[in-house]
């Protein structure tokens, strides 16, 4: 089936299978920031925004995205670079596999909550697992980003 998507501002028509998930569709269309971690709704590495709402693209059927705007990290590079600087300064980036989804979730949180408390932040990024950093440094980086930006 053919679906219409707006990916990071560009309208495209894409052929997808009935049982295809959005992570596969996006990666096939050049969005390599969308990671396939667990592929089972657990790690958050596949996070993208659908009409501004963060979802797990590994568990979101592609046909559901018909007519919707999809944002991946490639679509928010400027904001992500600012956050990335704080993440790196705090040593919160090791293998980097979780970083694109963490950045996208943080940007979405900032848009949704404006000025979140530490508790709000912990709650919002809870679905983004990281095997390397132990989260403390990520938390510091996110807080600095929110303070500064």
């Amino acid at each position: 089936m053919i679906i219409n998507l707006n990916i990071n501002g560009s309208n495209i028509k894409v052929e997808v299978k009935e049982d295809e998930y959005l992570s596969e569709t996006l990666r096939n269309n050049g969005c390599k920031s969308v990671k396939r971690g667990c592929d089972k709704s657990t790690c958050g590495a596949c996070t993208v925004l659908v009409d501004g709402i963060p979802v797990l693209s590994c568990s979101y059927f592609s046909h559901r995205a018909e007519g919707k705007s999809i944002t991946t990290l490639e679509g928010v590079i400027e904001e992500a670079e600012k956050l990335g600087e704080h993440i790196i300064n705090e040593g919160a980036d090791q293998c980097g596999f979780c970083t694109p989804s963490l950045a996208l979730t943080t940007i979405s949180m900032k848009r949704e909550l404006g000025n979140p408390t530490e508790e709000d932040i912990k709650h919002y990024i809870n679905g983004n697992l990281c095997r390397c950093t132990g989260y403390e440094a990520q938390m510091k980086g996110i807080k600095k980003y929110l303070e500064v930006e």
């Binding site: 009935e18 709704s41 657990t42 996070t47 797990l56 059927f61 809870n126 697992l129």
Partner: protein, 268 residues
């Protein structure tokens, strides 16, 4: 992995029912998140509920009516619902995986399969809740949890009545995002206590003996609370990788005591 031979996107309930009831190997798809966990699932006819307009929370004088396709995140953040129930739903839902999953997973896809680990079912069972099915009509959640349905059906909406004074949800899990080892909802409906315990790990049930002890008491003091907790610990608790039956039984006393105290505290 899911394989779908044919995807149907009905626009009306009649159309959805026609396909679902007549076609062999037909399967309803709500959020699709739990189906995603299937290791090998072949669906001949997928019936996507997305376009049926079953998404949203409506408030009337007596109840909140929640469409089956409403996401867990909508329940968690709906200001009218959470203001009426004093953030009870936000507390019950906030530890389920992450925001991104809760933006996909639906109330219908949770209640219909009666998942034993569910936090939401326990939270709902502790309140006065009815289910509206397409064919079987309106049934209380309590009856549905106990007996299920005789025939397959489509859950259309969940009616949460606004007759409670207070409610409290307690759970324990090893880490945020993990399944709950045990969860417990307590409410006070027109002066009568109602207690649901889930994650046993079997399906959530009402702790009827504990409820009777509380409801028969003239005054609820620590002694009565202790007796109610002991009664709740006698429910059937099983063992899985998250905890033993014995551990769950012991923990049920702790969660229930906290829940009752919170409901009492709010009453004062």
């Amino acid at each position: 992995m899911i394989r779908i031979r044919n995807l149907n996107k009905p626009k009306t309930m009649e159309e959805a029912w026609e396909i679902y009831s007549n076609k062999n190997k037909a399967k309803l798809i709500a959020g699709g998140a739990f189906l995603r966990l299937s290791t090998d699932l072949y669906i001949g006819e997928a019936v996507d509920l997305f376009d049926l307009n079953l998404n949203g929370i409506k408030e009337t004088e007596d109840a909140f009516t929640v469409g089956a396709m409403t996401t867990l995140r909508q329940l968690e953040t709906d200001s009218a619902l959470n203001s009426w129930f004093d953030n009870y739903f936000a507390a019950a839902l906030k530890n389920i995986v992450g925001v991104q999953l809760r933006n996909i997973a639906t109330i219908g896809g949770t209640v219909y399969p009666r998942y034993g680990f569910s936090d939401l079912i326990t939270a709902l069972l502790a309140l006065d809740v009815d289910l509206q099915f397409y064919k079987s009509g309106r049934i209380s959640l309590e009856d549905y949890m106990e007996k299920g349905l005789l025939e397959k059906d489509i859950l259309v909406e969940i009616i949460i009545k606004k007759n409670i004074n207070n409610a409290s949800f307690k759970m324990m899990r090893n880490s945020k995002g993990d399944y709950a080892i045990l969860n417990c909802g307590v409410s006070c409906i027109h002066g009568k206590y109602r207690i649901a315990i889930g994650g046993r790990p079997g399906r959530a049930v009402l702790a009827t003996d504990a409820m009777e002890i509380l409801n028969a008491a003239e005054k609820i003091d620590e002694d009565i609370i202790g007796k109610a907790c002991n009664a709740a610990a006698e429910l059937a608790y099983g063992t899985n990788i998250f905890g033993s039956g014995q551990y769950r039984s012991a923990m049920s006393k702790v969660l229930l005591k906290r829940g009752i105290r919170e409901v009492l505290g709010n009453d004062n």
